[in-house]
């Protein structure tokens, strides 16, 4: 294991930020820490990086304890913090060169690595720009480049796509997959379900400082009661419709989303849509729109915590 965390508890005064938290990250995987804001994701990362003291538990990185002065271990790690963290008066190139230079002594090698990072996040034409001249998305790319230029074995990416435009976001996600494909192990925190599902080999869902579930996206989704969701918009109000839908076989529950729009959740995923359409036909119920979907990670989170993960 690249990272092993056992029984980690971190308190801020009386507030328990991380509660008896376990985490294992295997070499070469992208591990997603998924949870709402304030769930403790960043605190977990900061304790692993020895920035924060903690009350109890054991943390090992590369099989060893990462103390603040373990420069040898730190040299193998890259960090992309959630907030932008670079020098405001250095150019794009100088910033990346500076951060890379903290790890790489050899000038020629460093130049190659810096150029590589610039190509990697596609900011080549901005290399002489100061950060204040960049858009929000480009600043995010610079933030990432500063953390990965030295080609670390282990990378922590703490919500790197917050406030990023859709184009930059997809670009960053694809490149993070590339990092993994080139041998890096990645710990990725996010509160975006789609990102976690698209990117991560394994996901740990966090809430209130605790790990409430872990596994691949499919494992997590299969582990919950809901197996299929169907959303229907009807042409008019039908008498006792909610009760009638609830009475159908396999239906877990029915939620009225709008005046004539209902969400029907099924506990088995066996031809639910076909059976439902047959029922509507038999009962003379007309609808304007109908679609089905498989459960999402939000459904996993909802079932585990009783609240929505989406903001």
């Amino acid at each position: 294991m690249i990272i092993e965390v056992n029984g980690l508890t971190k308190k801020y005064g009386d507030l328990v930020a991380v509660d008896n938290f376990d985490l294992q990250v295997a070499e070469g995987e992208i591990l997603g820490l998924l949870g709402p804001n304030g769930s403790g994701k960043t605190t977990v990362i900061n304790t692993i990086l020895s920035l924060l003291r903690y009350q109890s538990g054991e943390i090992k990185v590369f099989g060893e304890q990462l103390d603040p002065d373990r420069y040898d271990l730190k040299a193998r790690i890259g960090v992309v913090p959630q907030e932008l963290a670079f020098f405001t008066n250095l150019t794009v190139y100088q910033n990346i060169d500076y951060f890379c230079g903290l790890y790489i002594n050899d000038k020629a090698q460093r130049r190659q690595y810096v150029d590589g990072a610039i190509q990697y996040v596609d900011i080549n034409k901005y290399r002489k720009f100061l950060p204040k001249q960049l858009s929000g998305g480009l600043k995010r790319r610079l933030n990432v480049a500063c953390g990965i230029a030295h080609r670390p074995e282990l990378i922590f990416l703490d919500e790197p796509t917050v406030a990023v435009d859709a184009q930059s976001r997809q670009f960053l996600l694809d490149n993070i997959k590339n990092l993994r494909d080139h041998g890096s192990t990645i710990v990725y925190t996010t509160h975006y379900l789609e990102e976690a599902e698209y990117l991560c080999d394994r996901i740990v869902i966090m809430d209130a400082g605790r790990s409430i579930a872990s596994g691949t996206a499919n494992e997590l989704k299969h582990g919950i009661t809901v197996k299929e969701k169907v959303t229907v918009t009807f042409d008019q109000d039908y008498e006792s419709l909610e009760e009638r839908l609830n009475a159908l076989s396999n239906v877990l529950d029915v939620h009225k989303l709008d005046e004539r729009k209902y969400l029907i959740r099924f506990q088995e995923s066996n031809s639910n849509l076909k059976k439902l359409l047959d029922y509507f036909s038999r009962q003379g119920i007309n609808f304007l729109e109908v679609y089905n979907e498989l459960p999402s990670l939000n459904d996993v989170f909802f079932e585990l915590t009783g609240k929505e993960l989406r903001e």
Binding site: N46, L52, R53, Y71, N89, L90, L102, Y103, G147
Partner: protein
């Protein structure tokens, strides 16, 4: 020490392109000295402050007291003196045993007391009166040909050198995880404490030293106040002063958990207080501190810089500056050492 050169290069670039830092380092000393120049222009008449004292003509110290320029000595018996003291026409009455009769304490009383202490001390050592050197100890600043403007400007240079702490606070704080995200990012890199301290110290020292030189040149060449008569030791004094300013900034930055505004506020308060003790607002305060708090006077960096500049450029006394400067260097090194222990590469309760 990994990539010290690279660190220094980029920290230097980051500072030189920071408009705020450049203002405080270069523009602020020029503005402040110009402001002082305009404010104290009227004080520039070389006026010698004298202290009104009285003694009986039969007083064994009378003859010696007559020779001390800073004292305005009158013949008076004790009863008359008491009445004059009540009317506040007199600072002190000197009794036959050398003790003082005073109405209230203050800086002038401290000076008279200091003079009498020295006279008594010298007598005990059976040294002849002509060996007494009151100007060297008590009235050095006033007794020499030093204008009020020069006096304030020397003190200002002392203050500016300590004020250099601002750059050092900014530089050292860059590396602290509890101050900024950048600090947190640097804290998780393999950047060693030694590199952090050396980088911050060297870059800050370059800027602080330049800042002092520019302020001095501005005062001398633009404002026309004659300050430098002996260039080489003056440069040495400014360098040591800058070194202390940086060390002071390092300790302000690393010794507490205050945010940047708090650290700057703390540094400014200490700098202004030390400048006040050096007589920036009232020269007599300096004498009072020298008398009542000699240890503070001895280690007050603003006072050391001020005295050293006066010694070198006004009294032409170069030999006397080395011990205080060595003291200042030692103090600076101690502060750097403590900063190195305190700075980063540690875990925090919260960031």
């Amino acid at each position: 020490m990994k990539n010290l050169g690279l660190n220094i290069k980029y920290m230097f670039l980051e500072t030189v392109r920071d408009k705020g830092a450049i203002f405080w380092l270069l523009a602020f000393p020029i503005l402040l000295s110009t402001f002082f120049f305009l404010a104290f222009q009227k004080l520039d008449a070389p006026e010698l402050t004298t202290i009104k004292v009285a003694a009986d003509p039969n007083n064994p110290y009378y003859q010696i007291l007559e020779t001390i320029e800073v004292l305005d000595l009158e013949q008076m018996d004790e009863d008359t003196a008491r009445a004059e003291l009540d009317e506040e026409n007199l600072t002190a009455y000197i009794k036959a045993d050398g003790s003082l009769l005073i109405k209230k304490s203050g800086a002038q009383v401290s000076i008279v007391k200091g003079i009498m202490d020295q006279i008594i001390q010298m007598q005990k050592m059976q040294l002849p009166p002509e060996r007494y050197d009151f100007t060297a100890v008590y009235t050095k600043d006033e007794a020499v040909n030093l204008s009020a403007m020069q006096y304030f400007m020397y003190t200002l240079i002392g203050m500016i050198s300590i004020y250099s702490y601002f750059t050092a606070v900014t530089s050292f704080s860059t590396y602290q995880a509890n101050i900024s995200t950048l600090g947190a990012r640097l804290s998780v890199s393999p950047l060693s404490k030694g590199t952090v301290v050396l980088t911050s110290a060297i870059v800050s020292l370059i800027f602080c030293f330049l800042s002092n030189i520019i302020a001095l040149l501005h005062i001398q060449l633009v404002l026309g106040v004659e300050l430098v008569n002996n260039l080489a030791p003056t440069i040495l004094i400014l360098f040591v002063a800058s070194l202390f300013g940086v060390a002071f900034g390092a300790i302000i930055s690393t010794s507490n958990k205050l945010q940047m505004d708090g650290k700057i506020g703390l540094g400014t308060t200490v700098t202004l207080t030390l400048s006040f003790f050096t007589g920036m607002m009232n020269p007599q305060v300096k004498h009072f501190i020298e008398d009542k708090l000699p240890l503070l006077a001895k280690f007050n960096p603003v006072a050391i810089v001020n005295d050293a500049l006066v010694s070198v450029n006004v009294l032409a006394d170069t030999a006397g500056i080395y011990l205080p400067l060595v003291r200042l260097v030692a103090l600076s090194l101690l502060l750097f050492l403590i900063s190195m222990i305190w700075i980063g590469r540690r875990s925090y309760d919260s960031i």
